[in-house]
């Protein structure tokens, strides 16, 4: 804090009219990684709209091959920061996978994912889904409609495979949540077996997002959970049908975060603030005037160096419509939310939800106290940096005071039952009680040993 004040005092003498209050940056040439998904938009916007430049930052954005390469890049310093799955900083900090203390001062977006199944599976699911007066399937579609299909496959001796993008990805947890809510078991992890398929009705495996439509087409998987534009891409190419978006699964659920190593934040506090400021401005621009700038964002994202998919495929979800079956377009105005509903504030309750899901499926092997969840959340999510950056933006007149939750204790109000597909409310302050209330999954003191549950 002192260093920041000294730096600020030193640079007030150098304030020039064209640049916003320029912090004394420790490191101004940065490389950020991202995966080709629609929700890397805040990074692209911050670069293209000049928000990074305004802060004095020279940023190179590099697409990464997959989530593992991205995480390794941040951990070993090749990347200064990256577009990350919300679970990655948490898993890295608690030591599931490569251990490293990664923190996040900025949440990149809410929602943005969908679950798609292949055409064959959809044909078999359709009879199980109640239709409305016009014959269109009633949404949200529960995994109960999928259960008979999985039975058929099991009886024929064929495994039912589905894809997700990373063992600690939001998609993994959302897919599992949806399957469990429909009575299907997605499998446990144990200390010795991290395939996540112990006792599973549906076998889940990892595929990088851009390769998912191809893998679905090839028949290696029968469905997947992934972020946009890869669900709409499947519809566009006629190889699959999205059955549910995560907006319908849990309204306004947390999705991606911007992750940096704890060392980076310690060594370069001003740089971290500058980056957060630029990203907040980008998020504001994306949601400005009821999403008025979304089409410009779509044009940006369709460039080959960013997402590269066709603009019309990206435009669907970015402008608030989502096509399920071919021709069945529905309004989902908040499919991608970047700033509204405090989407960019890193809430502790979001971190705790991911930790509960990690515990639910056995990635966290032992039972933990509620206080442990709170501690880890505070270790990884840094709303203090976010609010400091927001305060600076408000002082410079670039943001509104009213848009930020200054007084929040870091926990959102408990999610009402109506906002979740299976009606189970979530209160971030009582993670163990929440775990006990979920039908399928580890509860209380249960542990997975070999292929059995104990405790």
């Amino acid at each position: 804090m002192r260093k920041f004040l000294l730096g600020l005092a030193a640079t007030t003498a150098l304030v020039s009219p064209a640049f916003a209050e320029m912090l004394d940056l420790e490191k101004d040439e940065l490389t950020f990684g991202f995966i080709k998904l629609t929700d890397m938009a805040p990074l692209a916007v911050a670069y293209e709209q000049g928000y990074f430049f305004d802060e004095g930052l020279f940023v190179t954005l590099e697409a990464q091959a997959n989530w593992k390469v991205l995480l390794d890049g941040v951990i070993d310093g090749k990347l200064d920061g990256a577009h990350m799955l919300a679970g990655q900083p948490l898993a890295a900090t608690i030591g599931f996978g490569t251990e490293a203390h990664i923190i996040t001062p900025f949440s990149m977006d809410l929602n943005g994912n969908g679950i798609t199944v292949s055409n064959e599976v959809w044909e078999q699911m359709k009879p199980n889904i109640p239709a409305d007066a016009e014959g269109k399937p009633i949404h949200p579609i529960s995994a109960k409609a999928l259960a008979p299909v999985v039975e058929t496959y099991k009886n024929a001796g064929k495994p039912f495979n589905m894809g997700m993008v990373f063992p600690v990805s939001t998609h993994n947890y959302e897919l599992r949540y949806w399957l469990a809510a429909g009575g299907l078991h997605p499998g446990y992890y144990s200390k010795d077996n991290i395939s996540g398929q112990i006792g599973a009705d549906v076998l889940l495996s990892v595929t990088p997002p851009p390769q998912m439509p191809a893998t679905l087409e090839a028949g290696t998987i029968h469905g997947y959970c992934v972020g946009e534009p890869w669900n709409q891409q499947a519809v566009f190419k006629g190889i699959g049908v999205p059955v549910i978006t995560d907006y319908e699964l849990w309204k306004n659920n947390p999705e991606k975060v911007f992750g940096i190593t704890a060392e980076f934040a310690e060594q370069y506090p001003n740089t971290t603030l500058a980056v957060t400021k630029a990203l907040i401005r980008a998020a504001m621009w994306l949601d400005e005037n009821e999403n008025a700038n979304r089409m410009d964002a779509v044009e940006m994202l369709s460039r080959p160096e960013y997402v590269g998919a066709d603009a019309e495929v990206i435009a669907a979800s970015m402008t608030g419509t989502f096509e399920y079956e071919k021709g069945d377009k529905r309004e989902v105005p908040d499919f991608n939310v970047f700033f509204r509903y405090n989407a960019s504030y890193p809430f502790y309750s979001d971190a705790v939800w991911y930790l509960t899901q990690m515990r639910r499926w056995g990635q966290i092997g032992e039972p933990k106290l509620d206080s442990w969840y709170d501690e880890v959340a505070r270790d990884v999510y840094k709303p203090a940096i976010y609010l400091e950056a927001a305060r600076m933006l408000v002082d410079e007149g670039l943001a509104n005071e009213a848009d930020f939750p200054w007084d929040s204790d870091g926990y959102k109000a408990p999610t009402p039952a109506a906002d979740v597909i299976d009606g189970i409310a979530y209160d971030g302050k009582s993670p163990n009680a929440y775990l006990d209330s979920l039908p399928i999954g580890l509860k209380g003191d249960q542990v997975v040993v070999g292929t059995e549950l104990k405790g």
Partner: protein, 358 residues
Amino acid sequence: MTTADPNFTETADREARRARLFTRINAADKWFQVLGLTWLTPMLRAAAGDNPRAQAKEVWRLLAVPLLAIAAFLLLWGVLAPRVQTSLGAVPGPAQVWEEAVNLHQDAQAKAVKRAEFQAKVDQLNARLIASGREPKDRAYTGAPSYYQQIWTSIQTVFFGFLLATVVAVPLGILAGLSPTANAGLNPLIQIFKPVSPLAWLPIVTMIVSALAATEGGLFPKSFIISAVTVTLCSLWPTLINTALGVASIDKDLVNVSKVLKMNTRTKISKLVLPSALPLIFTGLRLSLGVGWMVLIAAEMLAQNPGLGKFVWDEFQNGSSSSLAKIMVAVLTIGIIGFLLDRVMFALQSLFTFTNNR
């Protein structure tokens, strides 16, 4: 014709001029061969009056037939392509590929504009820094490279790898050629490592380069070094083998000469071995460059060196409706550049060798 012919001197002069012209055309033919323009020679000869009918046959063989073959290929492609429907749309025909080539060119121009704007902004910033008494800083461009820059990166990488390969292979080849013991020692290693694919070398090279070059930065980016080293490992074998062969098959008489003159090793190598072995060494170099160019594309795809290989991989990942056409543009570019590289090597080869058997 007798000397009483009033036009004798004129006719004689004309004949002499013609003879000189033909000599010049024959000399130029050597260069036309290097540039791949062999069909010009018969045309020039026909224009100079040398048996037009026979020259017409040559022109047909050297120019018209290849052109017809290319035209037939394009026609076949254009007809068959739309019949195959992939999930990215129909397979692009020549027209779409041309369109995408034009798009890439326009995109490169747009990127050049952006680069200029970036530089202007940086200059502005630097001016401000100077005005407030701080040091101006030189900034590398942070945006994406254009297609032409990617081509240039690929060419740089392949030449770097190729030079490394030459520096390693030629001395080893000379050693193996001169000494049967060394040959016996090197031979098993060569035979085992020769068939290894670049994709198998890549993880090993990546690990080693990452370990040795602990910090990021330095003269070359890591991905450049990884790609270049992979090219080296795969392309040094033709040069090595051909050099060894060339050195081993020096005329026995010449070797005896060196013994009689009591030449030391250095003189022997520079005055005797290298010049005699040059034709085969150059054959090896030409083969190596060809192999290296092929290997480079695969190595770049995986090492993410910002060249043509990465371009193809990124387009594949993007899966947009223009991706397949862009990949085809890249394929044609790779082919054309490979052809040009081969021509360059051929030119060098004909510069340095005078006959084929020495």
